[in-house]
């Protein structure tokens, strides 16, 4: 997937959870990604973040520590 598309998809998720009340938005973003993103998409996200994270919403960035790194791809 193109990095732009991945960034957009991750940011869209963050945009929703940002509007939700209460705390734990970052965990919710991570949980959504863990539940719906296939391992190679999560790997791509984690890899992308490690090399600069350009364009990633800060909420996605703070969710990254809770995004489950896949065992193998």
């Amino acid at each position: 997937m193109s990095p732009e598309k991945m960034v957009m998809m991750a940011n869209q998720i963050a945009t929703f959870f940002k509007t939700q009340p209460g705390s734990g938005q970052a965990e919710n973003v991570a949980a959504h990604i863990n539940d719906f993103w296939e391992p190679r998409m999560r790997s791509q996200l984690i890899g992308y973040a490690a090399t600069g994270a350009t364009g990633l919403d800060p909420l996605v960035q703070s969710a990254l520590s809770s995004v489950r790194a896949p065992a193998e791809v």
Partner: protein, 965 residues
């Protein structure tokens, strides 16, 4: 398993509709009978087992009382009242066969027959004609009336009389592709006219003229059936007691001798039909009156458009090729399956376990879908399974799951009869879900109010005897803003149902939500500029919905196919909870599903993150159930969704796909991206009836079977599990579930199903909401709505009655976020897409039937203002361009769409509306944003380069080598 033979009585015409009411006892011909108050004497007699002769009455229509054949004598009453229009009364004593009434009846019949051709033996309705039956029942033996010898015209059926043209004679109208109207056989009983009004709600027919001159007329005098408003639903044909309105297939093939009850394979209404046959030759499809979704009605697709099943384009032999530049080679099943299996296994060895996947079909049966996802999970060893519901209703699953705890509509279709205010949002039921639309329109004519939220003035907004109280013509992409503004009005004006919210929902969450919705930025005044909906109109609509009695919301793909599709679904759920409209008849949240088995394919675990019954693959206790049943280990990680598969294919990590009964190249957005993904795969297996567009990129083609050729079940939009029954042997040799099993076994699975009922047993054993379902129960009950288990042995017509599935209903904050798809100087218009009545989805089936007379190409609807500034006139070829691509089609100038909005359908592959749509998608589910694309329209003089390239690639790719001798 044997065909369901319909007991004779079950299908008997009771003369007038059933009533509900207090019991009334009367005596008919010496027998006591008790019936509900309001029942006609005719129906009471039928309940007692007496068939009073009748012509103008039938139990699908209100009694009319015009033929006078049904007269009876009632003690203490003068004269001979018509039994169809006379309601029962306590203690009434009725005689149905006195000398007096027999004489009247004979006289009536004599008059009818004197103006009717006596060519019974060669008539298409011979043996299936109520006029014939009544002549027999009344004992008519001779006809005394005769044409006057001096040449005065006296009948309607002779073209010439005494050498002169008969001015009363009207020739047959065979303009409709499926039925004829032969006025010479008409007895002017008015049943057709009433069927068109009462059952279908189209009002296409009238009786023109009076007395001897009266005639059934479609539209105005200048019209024939085809040019009239007739939508070819067939209700009039069904109601006609004679051969006047007659199916062309019966004229051609003769009257059928047996029938099998089955389910329509087109839309999510899931109408029950009687397939009527001679041997294995299908003569006609007739809506089944005990079908609980359709109650005896149908639309043109299910009723008539089944000809694709025998179309010459059907591929009946398996085919393979090494690469997509080669022509196809016809091979044996064994060779094709061996080729497919070794390629798929080879890909897994080379590129890893997760390099292949499946797409299940929302057109196939539950059993077939279950097997395809089982193939991925149990044989491929991954969760790479998705279904075309991804591109339509995946946000429904997510949104309703989050708010209510289950991803399905809350009501049955009967519920609409108890509704007082209906919101239809992002749906066009008269075209997409026609039989539901007819039932809705009936309720609207009886007084319910309607609010339509749609960018386009759909047929529901205004049609004969129907007018929406409010049409909120919003700008495409602003659903969330409109839905939240409705909530704003309800909350700030204190119109919510607090008692309901306190008992049924989480009160804390409600308060947070109420505060959110009350914020001034959500007021209709604040959002008017954005949404284009006048604030006063929106306020009035909100008040009507909140205070008008039972409120029900029906929605379609205009809600889900957006960047914020899931959020809108949540907003709709919020509205229902806010107004207390959940958990009883007449209310609820009802997604109108596109294809016949969208609900079922979602239920059956087609999604890559969910096992059957909507349970996440990460849950070890759920995996354990399937691991035990299947003896394999289930991957705990979610698999790829369709758009992700295509992305991964372009990236080189996804290489093989088994695609059953779907045409992703035509139906999915951003065609160029789909084509690139498919082209990058090394083994694409297409399992379909036709060489569809996706097959242009396939290496293996496995011929599919039609719904007429297999057993199974479909689950409609009401969660109703309906039986599909095999009425003829598969022309391709195997039902689709057998083909999947053969493929699985070629890959070493060792499956041994011999009948789909065994697959259903496996579903029931593994999926709690289906625990009580088996074919015996379906045989007995006809159909059942899930959940069907120990707690609900007879199924569940209404959901969330005493509490939400998830416990407390959950209000979710729904902030509007503008889609990134924005208009600008290059692309100043917004394109939205939809469909029309006569065509279905990508049109693979309906384009291969007589339905093309209604829609032979996709048109672009554009407002006259927008057309004028571009120099576009009605019917001009225009170029439609977006940042994704461009295509050409013809323009249709109409004010159905607002200025700034254009609209088209996607039924024809050469238009390829999806070349235009982008790869933006719903934030939660990746459901593509079909409904909003920024475009430009300009004059054009022919197909675009893409269209030409596409056509030549398609043509090259469809070559088939002659079979080797």
């Amino acid at each position: 398993m044997k065909d369901l033979i319909i007991p004779r009585d079950n299908d008997r015409d009771m003369g007038t509709p059933a009533r509900e009411g207090a019991p009334v006892t009367l005596t008919i011909d010496g027998f006591d009978i008790t019936v509900p108050e309001g029942t006609s004497v005719m129906r009471a007699a039928a309940e007692a087992g007496f068939q009073i002769p009748k012509l103008c009455a039938t139990d699908s229509l209100e009694a009319f009382g015009s033929c006078r054949l049904c007269v009876v004598e009632i003690e203490g009453r003068r004269g001979t009242p018509a039994s169809c229009t006379t309601p029962v009364a306590p203690g009434m004593v009725v005689r149905t066969q006195s000398e007096k009434v027999k004489k009247i009846r004979k006289g009536v019949m004599e008059l009818y027959i004197s103006d009717h051709p006596l060519d019974c033996l060669t008539c298409a309705a011979n043996g299936d004609c109520e006029l014939q039956d009544m002549a027999g029942a009344t004992g008519l033996r001779d006809v005394r009336y005769q044409a006057p010898a001096d040449g005065g015209m006296s009948n309607h059926f002779e073209a010439r009389q005494n050498g002169e043209a008969n001015p009363q004679y009207v020739p047959k109208d065979d303009s409709n592709p499926y039925f004829t109207y032969d006025p010479s056989k008409c007895i002017v009983c008015n049943r057709c006219v009433r069927a068109c009004e009462e059952v279908q709600g189209t009002f296409a027919l009238t009786i023109a003229g009076r007395g001897f001159d009266s005639r059934v007329s479609a539209g105005t005098a200048a019209d024939d059936f085809l040019s009239s408003d007739c939508v070819s639903c067939g209700a009039c044909v069904q109601a006609c007691p004679t051969a006047t309105l007659q199916e062309k297939s019966v004229i051609e093939l003769g009257t059928p001798e047996r029938s099998v009850i089955t389910t329509c394979a087109y839309c999510g209404v899931g109408c029950s039909f009687k397939a009527e046959l001679n041997g294995d030759e299908l003569v006609r499809m007739v809506p089944y009156k005990h079908g609980k979704a359709n109650r005896g009605h149908s639309c043109v697709k299910g009723r008539f458009a089944y000809g694709y099943a025998k179309h010459k384009d059907r591929i009946l032999n398996p085919m393979i090729r090494d690469s997509i530049d080669e022509p196809w080679r016809e091979v044996s099943w064994e060779e094709a399956l061996g080729f497919a299996a070794s390629r798929m296994r080879g890909l897994q060895e080379k590129y890893g376990k997760k390099s292949i996947g499946v797409i299940t079909s929302s057109r196939c049966t539950n059993e077939e879908t279950f097997l395809v996802q089982k193939l991925a999970r149990g044989v491929f060893g991954n969760n790479n399974t998705d279904t075309c519901a991804r591109v339509c209703h995946s946000p429904t699953g997510y949104g309703l799951g989050q708010t209510f705890g289950t991803s399905a509509g809350t009501q049955d279709f009967d519920s609409v009869e108890h509704t007082d205010v209906v919101i239809v949002i992002g749906a066009n039921p008269t075209d997409g879900h026609p039989v539901f639309a007819s039932r809705l329109k009936k309720r609207l004519r009886d007084g319910a109010e309607l609010i339509v939220i749609d960018p386009r003035r759909t047929n529901l907004v205004k049609s004969p005897h129907i007018q929406a109280a409010h049409h909120l013509a919003l700008r495409p992409g602003t659903n969330v803003a409109v839905v939240t503004a409705l909530a704003h009005v309800i909350v700030t004006e204190g119109l919510m149902d607090e008692a309901f919210i306190r008992t049924r929902c989480d009160w804390e969450e409600f308060q947070v939500y109420a505060e959110f919705a009350s914020a001034p930025r959500h007021s209709p005044e604040a959002t008017e500029l954005l949404t284009g909906v006048p604030a006063a109109e929106l306020r009035a609509a909100a008040r009507l919905f909140a205070t008008g009695g039972n409120g029900a919301i029906y929605y379609g793909l205009g809600v889900t196919e957006h960047s914020q599709g899931s959020t809108t679904v949540m907003g709709i759920a919020n509205l229902a909870m806010l107004t207390g409209n959940i958990g009883r008849k007449g209310v609820g949240v009802n997604p109108l599903r596109g294809q016949n088995n969208v609900q079922g394919s979602c239920d059956m675990g087609s999604f890559p993150h969910e096992l059957p019954g909507y349970r996440h693959v990460k849950l070890p206790e759920v995996r354990a159930v399937f691991e035990q049943a299947w003896g394999v280990e289930i991957d705990p990680e979610p698999g790829l969704r369709i758009p992700n598969m295509l992305d991964a294919a372009v990236d080189g990590s996804f290489k093989g796909l088994y695609c059953q009964g779907e045409d992703i190249l035509q139906s999915d957005p951003d065609t160029k991206h789909v084509a690139a993904g498919l082209a990058a795969m090394e083994c694409v297996i297409v399992h379909d009836l036709f060489l569809n567009e996706t097959a242009n990129y396939a290496h293996v083609f496995l011929p599919g079977s039609t719904f007429l050729e297999k057993d199974g079940t479909f689950t409609n939009a009401e969660r109703r599990i309906n039986r599909v029954r095999r009425v003829m042997a598969p022309m391709n040799g195997y039902a689709d579930w057998e083909v999947t099993q053969l493929l699985a076994n070629a890959m070493g699975a060792g499956w041994t199903y011999t009948h789909p009922s065994q697959i259903m047993d496996e579903i029931a054993a593994t999926t709690p909401s289906f625990a009580g379902v088996d074919y015996t129960l379906l045989e007995e009950k006809g159909s059942v709505q899930w959940p069907c288990n120990e707690a609900h042995p007879g199924g569940t017509p209404l959901m969330h009655v005493d509490g939400f599935v998830r416990g407390k209903g959950r209000f979710i904050v729904t902030e509007y976020v503008a889609t990134d798809e924005k208009t600008g100087p290059r692309f100043p218009l917004l394109l939205t897409t939809g469909r029309i009545l006569s065509q279905y989805n990508v049109g693979a089936q309906t384009r291969r039937t007589g339905n093309v007379v209604w829609h032979d190409q996709d048109l672009l609807e554009i407002h006259p203002h927008d057309a004028e500034v571009r120099g576009v006139k009605q019917g001009d070829w225009i170029k439609l361009a977006s940042r994704s691509g461009e295509t050409t089609l013809r323009a249709e100038l109409t004010d159905r769409v607002s200025p700034g909005v254009v609209y088209t359908t996607f039924h024809h592959p050469d238009t390829q509306a999806n070349v235009i749509t982008t790869d933006f998608s719903d934030w939660a589910t990746n459901c593509p944003e079909y409904k909003v694309t920024a475009v430009q329209v300009s004059l054009s003089n022919g197909p675009t380069e893409w269209q030409e390239d596409y056509a030549s690639q398609a043509q090259r790719s469809r070559r088939i080598l002659p079979a080797a001798e």
